[in-house]
């Protein structure tokens, strides 16, 4: 073969010498793990998230008591060996309610964000790739929704749908959708301007295939990061809705609902507020840490 170049192993220095700070390789899963592992706070976040999910899933086996069972001997009971987190106003075990409450809180975070992504991603893709009047309509609607503060919108929607955990999830999900539409649209437009998309057209790809094969995989990382951070916001939103009585309904536990009742007993039984408050704090912190680490690991340029 006339151009028989001996095949050298791929060179590692992809970046020009002038930009040493960007010597990085994006891509492969192994490289991604290596970068994520190098970020201790992200790993901590991931571990805490994992433990919380494990706790929620295995709640029936690890909770010492039935979370809805009342015990007159334990009304506002001080933390003790039998009830390490104490008892609430009708004598239910706070520890068990925290464990079961994780289901409502994490569930609300995950389900509402799943809803927001499954609505926002296709709409954003459509707006960003189709452009024209379709983009105009979707973008103006998104702008209008984004003009209303997230929590206010969620409260209004939840009030409209009626108080229940499922309705709270729907309300939070719908409220978060506009963020994902906007992010997806911006990402699509950025990726669509890349030369490899033009190269895909030059090869004769039909538009839908360009969107699915060439654009979508390249915007997933950004969506993933946003989703993780939004889960944290959704957990707070669920707690807020439950605190206002619009989320999880008694006697079923949720951290927000627990805080709601605890506010009346702050003097007599502060543990009723401390434990759900700490749980919310921990879960939100963990998702945020993980999300930040994920962003750094997926996009080396964000690194400081």
């Amino acid at each position: 073969m006339s151009t028989g170049t001996p095949i050298a192993e791929p060179a590692g220095l992809a970046a020009p010498a002038g930009t040493p700070a960007l010597i990085q390789e994006p891509g492969t899963l192994a490289a991604f793990w290596r970068r994520l592992r190098a970020r201790k706070s992200a790993v901590a976040g991931l571990v805490i998230v994992g433990l919380l999910i494990l706790m929620a899933v295995s709640a029936p086996w690890i909770a010492p008591y039935d979370p809805t069972a009342t015990d007159w001997a334990n009304v506002r009971g001080h933390p003790s060996l039998a009830h390490p987190f104490g008892g609430d106003e009708v004598g239910r075990d706070v520890l068990s309610r925290i464990i079961f409450g994780a289901r409502a809180s994490l569930g609300a975070g995950l389900v509402s964000v799943a809803l927001a992504v499954s609505l926002g991603l296709p709409l954003g893709l459509l707006a960003g790739y189709a452009g024209g009047w379709i983009d105009g309509v979707i973008s103006r609607l998104t702008d209008a929704l984004l003009a209303i503060p997230f929590l206010i919108l969620a409260i209004a929607l939840a009030a409209f749908l009626g108080p229940s955990l499922v309705n709270a999830m729907i309300a939070i999900g719908l409220s978060a959708t506009s963020t994902f539409i906007r992010l997806t649209r911006a990402q699509v437009r950025a990726v669509a301007a890349e030369e490899f998309v033009e190269a895909a057209r030059a090869m004769g790809n039909p538009p839908w295939r360009i969107a699915r094969v060439h654009i979508l995989p390249n915007i997933v990382p950004a969506i993933l990061v946003q989703a993780t951070l939004t889960i944290a916001a959704a957990i707070i939103a669920e707690a807020s809705l439950s605190f206002l009585g619009l989320g999880q309904q008694p006697p079923e536990p949720s951290w927000g609902a627990m805080l709601n009742t605890a506010k009346n007993f702050m003097d007599q039984a502060p543990w009723m507020a401390i434990w759900p408050g700490l749980s919310i704090f921990l879960a939100v912190l963990a998702f945020n840490l993980f999300g930040d680490g994920l962003r750094d690991a997926l996009d080396p340029r964000q690194r400081t």
């Binding site: 073969m1 006339s2 151009t3 028989g4 170049t5 095949i7 050298a8 791929p10 060179a11 992809a14 390789e25 994006p26 891509g27 492969t28 890349e194 030369e195 490899f196 033009e198 190269a199 895909a200 057209r201 030059a202 090869m203 004769g204 790809n205 039909p206 295939r209 094969v213 060439h214 995989p217 390249n218």
Partner: protein
């Protein structure tokens, strides 16, 4: 005219205009990126397109491949007027017209393996091919462009710039096109890699009878590689001739200025050149209709100045 001389690509009066909008959004004026450009490319021929930034050379490359269709003018490819094709028919036509881009870092999808990227040509245009047949064809293409087929599963970031450009070339030749637009294909490559890619392009031309539109600002490489060369200035062709004729006997003042600016990699000659040349001014070169002054040598000069 023999069949051999029948042009693969025939471009007539190609123009690309961009409306410039005023601040309230109305049409203020028109930017003429390319204006009235005509040329033919024969089978197995390389036509060089040279000019400085803003001369419209890349715009012509995008227009000829209908990636950014022209405002007016015709592009006949093997006798078919591309502007008259439906979107679907044009997509089919892309099997015969290919493009290699300047920046092999940007032209590859970072989340698609090199093998899949090349295989896409077959997925789109050769639906009859089975998976294993496709794999074999891609492996053969890798071999042909000097890449180890074992690297088919690797992703773009695992390749060097030169290897990436080979991947792009493998994809471009996959469907045995007759015409490839090479838009600054070596500009982003290291000096020690450029020769590899130029040699590959030349070998493929010899083997497959490819025609190239070679867009470049590297005037030395253009002379080496191209049969004929067109010099662009502000969206117009000011001179078009056989490569050696153009370099040895440039007729248009702009061509002369351009050629005089090329540094010579020979110390004594280059020092003499630097010492001799007076600072070139920015005066407008003369313009006029493109006229054939010697057979095959076209120059745009005002009538009466074709000395």
């Amino acid at each position: 005219m023999s069949r051999r001389d029948y042009p693969v690509v025939s471009v007539r009066d190609l123009s690309k205009h961009y409306p410039l909008r005023s601040w309230w959004g109305g049409k203020a004026s028109v930017f003429r990126a390319v204006e009235g450009v005509s040329f033919d490319i024969r089978p197995g021929e390389t036509l060089g397109l040279v000019g400085e930034s803003g001369s419209g050379k890349s715009t012509i490359g995008r227009a000829v491949t209908m990636l950014n269709p022209p405002t007016s003018g015709t592009i006949a490819f093997e006798g078919t007027d591309l502007a008259k094709l439906s979107a679907g028919a044009m997509r089919k036509m892309r099997a015969r017209i290919q493009i290699v881009f300047q920046d092999p870092y940007a032209a590859l999808n970072p989340r698609m393996s090199a093998g899949d990227y090349v295989a896409e040509a077959f997925k789109l245009h050769r639906r009859d091919m089975g998976r294993s047949e496709r794999r074999e064809a891609v492996a053969a293409l890798f071999q042909r462009v000097g890449l180890d087929p074992r690297f088919m599963g690797r992703y773009p970031h695992q390749f060097s710039g030169g290897q990436r450009q080979r991947i792009c070339i493998a994809r471009a030749i996959a469907l045995k096109p007759s015409f490839i637009v090479a838009d600054e294909p070596i500009a982003a490559l290291d000096v020690s890699i450029q020769a590899q890619v130029v040699n590959l392009l030349q070998d493929l031309q010899d083997e497959m009878g490819l025609s190239y539109l070679f867009i470049s600002h590297d005037l030395r490489m253009v002379r080496y590689l191209c049969h004929r060369v067109a010099v662009l200035w502000r969206g117009r062709i000011v001179e078009l001739a056989e490569a050696d004729a153009l370099y040895e006997d440039p007729r248009h003042p702009y061509t002369r200025r351009l050629l005089a600016a090329v540094p010579v990699p020979h110390p004594a000659e280059e020092r003499a050149r630097l010492a001799a040349r007076d600072l070139v001014g920015h005066n407008e070169p003369p313009d006029g209709p493109l006229t054939e002054v010697v057979p095959g040598h076209w120059v745009a000069l005002p009538t009466g100045q074709h000395a």
